[in-house]
Symmetry: C2
Subunit: 700 residues, 2 copies
């Protein structure tokens, strides 16, 4: 994608479909552009002038170079106009026209043509079905919405146009400013990834926020966002979280929303901070916009009231933050300046008779303590406290320490002026202590994101050719599944499997069984028989002296069940003792947006009933695989809870990475389940594997 | 406790410690009372008049009858003044003076004296360490806070005085009104239960809200609240939810906060709606105050914007509510009045070009649908929509249907006037769709509470005398624990135990083993040996022919380990096959506030690692016991998940009730654990019981 700086800061904007007709979109957008710092050129074959500006019949006729064309013509001619723009050498186009992908199969065809045209000319195209773009850098409001943004450094993208209008109306009331705003529309060409990238490169965007209903290409988004979030925070409301919500989103936009589990994993891996509500989005954005990052996750609460202090403490307990433990030096300083009855431990209660100065003394001491990463000033109205004075002095103290401070002013009318003072100083103010704490927590969250070191997935030495052959074979079968060769596939990628092989005579079966310690498991080996257990085609715990008989019996069952089936013989395996190991499950399935998702959990009820699983978008690095093992609730079971010996976690973590490498190497592996992968103190062994192949993905 | 109506609506209020001295509490409270509808009598031996009112030297000298005395004298003389009030026949006293229970051992002694004096005279005493009381019914502000409440029908109690001041300041800014307000202070006499009861009886309180840090007597509170909430909703922020918060609360008030688990169970059983944050508290209170209850849990969302509709749908998915499915009739009506492109399924998208009337048509149709219990009107600003018109027309439509409606107006300045209109109509307005949905959900929650039928716990026919003897015996032992007779205790309460007995010769052991099917379990029977397994004193899976030898071996081990121990012989039991059953745990422990807590979960990792337990304050009714079994995550395991046969849930539920009856009958049973209680398709059997007795509770 080209450089988007001229999209948001053009010198000349042409409006195709400009008009003065009351109630029309063409009028709304042209009128909004009258404040624009640059030049506005109306284009309309039926007009001489629009708003006293000379009007041209088409884009080709405009004499000056145009940086941005805004298209508000009817759907039937929109693609033509976009082609004109391309032909005229215009690089940036915003299509406000609706009637594309969101409007049935005819619209979908039109959208395909639009995409082709954009691609032909290499256009940066926003929309279609967009409300437009805005940038306060050049006083440009190229939208048909009723509100212009105030100046600020938050850049904002939204997949809902109404959401932009609503948020601007609300934000203007609260003096929240923006840099660039874009209504993504149908995302035919430019999507969230492009804007994240562009704003990441811009010095004037401090925080990126978004309302998204889907993400067009999850993998690419993760890659871009990981880079951008090293410098610039991204906070997103991704709606359609719930099943009902996802349904509502798809009926509304026609976007195929991927699974919530994939978005959850993908956004977390991308370093994107996810807000669940609009208030959370702006609580986080204001904090990230106005305040520095904390040094650690410990917060000091300075309050003049015990009860609200308890509420703040509860909120800290619910968040990723913790209450700071002050050093003895700090406690000593508190004792010097605070009354005897004051609580000098966190939350610091400066008491109901505190004036602003006592607050700021305590704040200053707290922020000087190396144990403290951030502070919350939490004040209730009293006869003695001046909120305005508190606001002034808090802002000064914050300035001196360059650590983040949030202010919770628990009152109404009496706090208004103080809020304005703090707003000007970039210190977000709240009424509810829990929202103030959530705001501070989002800073701590971003601190974690911005200091992440993304580790490349390990590349193990594997037998890729052998794996390719196995997958190729399976793809040629009508079922597209792996059969007896499943174990070989794992073996090719270095994942331990039980000792064993396919044998085709009773004698060979006996010989192999003798080589294997203990009893064996025997299964009919036939690519044509899927559900072997159902026909008694699996025998477990077979002692060596019964192997020959079992062989005959299994083959007879197979022939009896399906006389025409190809029977290769019997698969004979070492029997893994499930009592000494813990059954785990490692699975892969493919998400339409994010691609391969790697899943890990304990076998049986843990995955099936308790849904205790860890999920990541593959490929995973060693540290991600380690996180997966750590994050399941049942993790203590792997670590010797209840008197068991710990299993070999290293082997488990390595297996997750090797499977991740396998699915990255073979997009044709659609689904894959090792169930169980038995983990013991000595290592792991994959006892069973089921996999489905997509033959269409084979030619790589 | 006496009638509290005169506390909140006195004719005459005396202020003991009244003064005009600037900055004093005595001045603040007297000045606040100048607006009072009744008579204010200053009492102060050093003044002739206060604020031009005649001042009396003490309460005994006031000629007219006084209904309420407000005490603002120093701590040293406060108890004396309260005694004066009692002697003068005054029934209601509010003690603002601090320096009692919150102030060390000297203060605690003072508080004990205060309580004794109040009890001697039967006083309704609020405080000490209270900010005071208020009632808008008589324009009484008997607090020293800077704010008076506006008129309304929410009554409000708070264990934090600062919280009252903060909330009033904030509420006045938002035109939220109150009926009675009380600062509970140290709750030496009157506590939350008393106010809940009083407001429950009052016709003028429509909603009761509270900020609580502890509950003085959990059992009594549950009983009162269950009754009150049949008519009047109670919404409470109980702080100290988290470990850190509980610690902060206890350092702040000196109250012993019980465990969060007990509060969670207790408040739920009491029918109290719990809010986690201050905003949630008022979102719920405004909704309960202004709107009728829904008919069901299904909500219709009417919106002019797809994106916000998806956000609302997500919020519905997160809540107890569900999106309503419209009847065909309703869908037909929508089709008639809405444009073709409108989405007529829920959320109903009336489109961006909708004026207020289209909204109200859709709202009217939705509320006429029997499938719909409540509606959310969700509007974004557009050029066509007048928010004021929408507000008017929504209020009229809501009125006609008597179903609850919430309004989400997603905008700032442009929505202000509409908010006022809706406020006046009692329709709460929100900016964030998720808060609007949470508001509606609190109505549905209260609907469930108000229609509850509290079922009395069943009373099973048990052998109480035998149980008493067993407990008595155990109490006489130094360990205060149950030994071999534990099984007899369960047997006395009709809980199945394994077949078996204590035998004292090898021959008797053999005879008993022969009577029992299968192998047996044998344990040393000695009240002096606690950890039998550690010394090899437990043998499982003993076949009949090894029983005699095992007997000799166990007795020898006991003698060897502790030569002086009393050895009763060997406890010999049927061995329960744990493979065919599911191990569950039933436990009791006692909470300082709520008394006996009954716990249920699956054995092993489920309780210990996954903390998958259900907890209730005992005694429990049949439906509560059923809920407990339903509510654990692992419940599907009991119901035949993964190909098992379902266990006998009826027997499990009955056992919970019988244990509940046992601990209710014997307060001396401090802790009790049946671990495991094995549940099979045929019933349950308690394999092991540990219990601790409190000898001091024996004399009942």
């Amino acid at each position: 994608m080209g450089d988007l700086s001229e999209l948001f800061a053009p010198s000349t904007v042409a409006v195709v479909g400009a008009t003065e007709r009351e109630g029309s979109v063409g009028r709304a957008v042209t009128a909004n552009l009258l404040e624009f710092d640059g030049e506005v050129v109306p284009v309309n074959p039926n007009k001489e002038t629009v708003f006293d500006r000379e009007c041209y019949p088409d884009l080709g006729s405009v004499p000056d170079p145009v940086d941005l064309a805004v298209v508000v013509v009817p759907a039937a001619v929109a693609v033509e106009v976009v082609r004109d723009a391309g032909a005229a050498g215009i690089e940036n186009v915003v299509v406000l026209t609706a009637g594309f992908g969101e409007a049935g199969s005819k619209g979908a065809t039109r959208e395909r043509k639009l995409r082709e045209t954009a691609s032909e000319y290499g256009l940066n195209l926003v929309g279609p079905n967009s409300v437009g773009v805005m940038s306060t850098s050049v006083n440009m409001n190229a939208t048909f919405g009723p509100e212009s943004a105030q100046d600020g450094s938050i850049s904002f993208m939204s997949q809902s146009g109404a959401f932009i209008t609503a948020v601007l109306d609300w934000a203007n009331d609260r003096d929240i400013g923006f840099r660039d705003v874009v209504s993504l529309g149908n995302k035919a060409v430019l999507n969230e990834r492009d804007f994240v990238e562009a704003w990441g490169e811009s010095d004037d965007t401090d925080v990126i926020i978004g309302y998204l209903e889907d993400i067009a290409d999850g993998g690419a988004f993760i890659e871009t966002a990981q880079e951008v979030t090293q410098e610039t925070p991204i906070v997103v409301v991704k709606s359609g979280r719930t099943e009902a919500g996802a349904q509502a989103a798809s009926s509304h936009t026609g976007a195929i929303a991927g699974s919530e589990r994939a978005y959850e994993a993908g956004l977390e891996q991308a370093g994107v901070i996810r807000a669940e509500t609009v208030e959370e989005l702006f609580d986080a954005a204001s904090m990230l916009d106005g305040q520095p990052l904390p040094e650690n996750e410990a917060v000091a609460v300075i309050t003049n009231a015990g009860g609200p202090g308890v509420l703040a403490t509860d909120a800290v307990g619910d968040s990723r933050l913790e209450l700071a433990s002050f050093t003895d030096d700090t406690l000593g300083s508190f004792e010097e300046v605070l009354p005897e009855e004051a609580n000098i431990y966190n939350p610091v209660d400066v008491l109901g008779d505190a004036a602003a100065e006592r607050f700021s003394d305590a704040l200053d001491m707290a922020l000087s303590d190396a144990n403290v990463g951030a502070a919350l000033v939490l004040a209730c109205p009293t006869a003695i406290l001046s909120f305005e004075e508190l606001a002034e002095i808090t802002s000064t103290t914050q300035d001196e320490h360059d650590l983040p401070v949030a202010a919770c002013l628990m009152g109404g009318e009496s706090t208004h002026e103080a809020r304005d003072i703090l707003d000007d100083a970039g210190i977000p103010t709240y009424f509810d202590p829990s929202r103030a704490v959530t705001g501070l927590a989002s800073l701590a969250r971003y601190r974690e994101v911005s200091t992440r070191e993304y580790e490349a997935p390990a590349s193990f030495d594997v037998d890729r050719e052998r794996a390719r052959d196995i997958i190729q074979q399976a793809a040629e079968r009508p079922s597209n599944t792996l059969g007896v060769e499943a174990m070989d596939l794992l073996d090719a990628y270095g994942i331990p499997t039980p000792q064993g092989a396919v044998v085709d005579t009773p004698t060979e079966a006996e010989r192999l069984a003798t080589d294997i310690d203990g009893d064996v498991v025997m299964k009919i080996a036939s690519p044509d028989i899927q559900h072997k257990s159902d026909i008694g085609g699996v025998r477990v715990g077979v002692p060596d002296d019964e192997v020959a008989d079992a062989y005959e019996d299994l083959v007879a069952r197979a022939k009896n069940y399906q006389p025409n089936a190809t029977v290769l013989g019997v698969q004979l395996q070492e029997q893994i003792d499930l009592d000494t190991g813990i059954e785990t499950i490692v699975g892969i399935n493919r998400d339409p947006q994010f691609g391969p998702l790697l899943l890990f959990g304990l076998g049986g009820i843990f995955v099936e009933i308790l849904e205790d699983v860890a999920v990541r978008v593959a490929p995973v690095s060693e540290s991600m695989a380690t996180e997966m093992v750590d994050e399941i609730d049942a993790a203590p079971l792997l670590r010797g809870a209840r008197g068991r010996e710990s299993v070999d976690e290293t082997a488990l973590i390595e297996t997750l990475q090797r499977i991740s490498q396998l699915v990255a190497d073979f997009p044709a592996l659609l689904e894959l389940d090792i169930n169980p992968l038995v983990a013991t103190p000595e290592g792991v062994v994959a006892v069973d594997l089921a996999a489905t192949i997509d033959p269409e993905e084979l030619d790589q």
